[in-house]
Amino acid sequence: MKSKTLQITLIYIIISLFMTIICHKLLTIYFSPTENYNLFLAKDIFFILATGLVFKYILSKNEVKNKSVFEKLKQTNEEIKESNEKYDIVAKATSDTIWDWKIQEDSISWNRGIEGIFGYNQEDVGKTSKWWFDKIHPEDSIRMSIKLYSFIEQKTEKWQDQYRFRCADGTYKYVLDRGFLLKDEKGRAIRMIGAIQDITKQKEEEQRLKLLETVITQSKDSILITEANSVARRIPKIVYVNPAFSQMSGYQSNEIIGKSPNIFKGPKSDSEELKKLLRAIKNEEECLIETISYTKQKEEFWVRFSMIPIFNNEGVISHWISIQRDITDEKKLETEKEHLIRELTQNNKDLKQFSYITSHNLRAPLSNLIGLLNLIEDIPVENTELEEIIAGFTKSTHLLNETINDLVKVIIIKDNPSMQKEEVSLQEVFENVFSQLSFQIELHKPIIKLKFDRVPLLNTNKAYIESILLNLLTNSIKYKSENRKLKISIMAEQIDHKAILTFKDNGIGIDLERNRDKVFGLYQRFHNYPDSKGLGLYLVKSQVETMGGTISIESEVNKGTTFTITFKN
């Protein structure tokens, strides 16, 4: 720099000297040289040198000043540069979306966040504030703009707001927007810079928690939360109760928080259950008890009380949650039910015993009568009238005996809900039944069609299934039509876990329109046949049902009857 000043000064001096010498030369050529010519030259040279010195001085002064200005400028520049760099780094580093709004020109610029978070390409982003406002959810936009403009008009100190901002894909994100104003010397707002934070996750979590909270606050079950640790073998202190709890216990939450649920204990509380609870608390296990509890007004109620330990991430117990339900009504019902069942069981037992005793007491003298009649058989009777009387006597006695035996059969079936079941071959069952009916079969020669190869084995009670088939077969023979040959078809099918037995004949049938509800009734007779007692179908149904099966009937008068029996198999 120094050399430059010197250089300029030297150039000035040389040019000036050169000019001076030329001028003097020209003067001496065109004008007559004067004696003072050299003096003038010397004077000019002196002037030139003097002005050169002054010039140099001024230049060097100026130089220093310039230099300091330059230094300052450079420094400022560096600062600005650094600041810009920092801004860029921060804008990149932050997950916030930063906007910069020149209010007077209404020009707004966004950082990369608008692309990264909201999905807008830089070219799609509008340059005015309108674009911004357009993206705000209609429900939020009025509230948001009122707050924003009152801030710009400097009626409020701070500005931050939450609203929903529309993304490029049309969905909305919850955002927290915070901004500050830049003012000019007159204090007018000229620029506003803000940062938008995506709080969708927090907001959703908040809403989820709110929803979950309603479970507790709206629940009809009482819920309370206690501390983790119990003091002196008591239930730990309560830290929260829900409204249902206040409803149930009569204690408001401020009265009960900090106390132990032990205060619900009373004279009738089940101490064994409470011990169980305390043991569970000690072992940090969940527990369910039922006990009588007491309200604030000392009214007793039944409560089902659970305690569930809550563990933190380290596996250390942090709280207990207790859910309670008033089960007073339930308990009452249960007690009533138990009482009723006990009574019914007793009644039933008494009745059963009564039927055994009655049948025994009827059978004892009856068997004597039969025994005596057996003895008479061997004694010749001379008197014909007496013989007739004895014959009538014998017939009535045997009829009475049969009836009582039938009733006894019914009693025994009804009293035997869990009889022995075994794998029974249907083939064998039919052979037995046919041999018992061989006389009738020989007599009437019915056409019998059997098809049970699909169900060769049936898990059932042998005696019962024989009795069922015997009764049905006897009925078919007894109630056959006189106009046509008797045809009986018996089929067995297996469908899933059910065996279906179809028993079909072409007999005289039963008028079901009149008798459907009586078909399987005790002592119900539909035909006036001398040896019909009205017991067969009753026994059949009883036996089928005792074995867990069902029976249904389809019948048409003079066409025939079909029984369908279904067993689990």
Binding site: Y356, S359, H360, R363, A364, P365, L366, S367, N368, I370, G371, L372, N374, L375, D378, V408, I411, I412, D415, N416
Partner: protein
Amino acid sequence: MLEQILCIDDDPITLMLCKKVISKSEFSNEIITAQNGEEALLHFNTLKYTNNKNKVSKKPELIFLDLNMPVMGGWEFLDHFTSGDYTEFSNAASVIVLSSTIDPDDLAKAKKYPIIIDFLSKPITLPMLEYLKKKIDI
């Protein structure tokens, strides 16, 4: 043919029938009766303590036993009879329950007494005795 059988029943007609039917079928030479369990036990007591003085008395080889009787029923009688005091008689005899009961509990209970060889329904009949003859092989 058996030498002696004992019928225990509170019903005199049953006893009469037993006597008649048994004598007809030539099932046993002698039929003695008792009205209930206690009377039967008394009979055995008498046998026990008079045995030494006189000639050896007959022991019943078969007992027809009713279950429902006043004073002492069939089950109670059996409990006494099969306990230590009467072993000399219970070892020599079989018991047939002859009752009009239909209580399944009675049937089940009968199976628990080894001394009971059958459970028959009243009235006693000739075919019944024929069946028994075959069963006990006489």
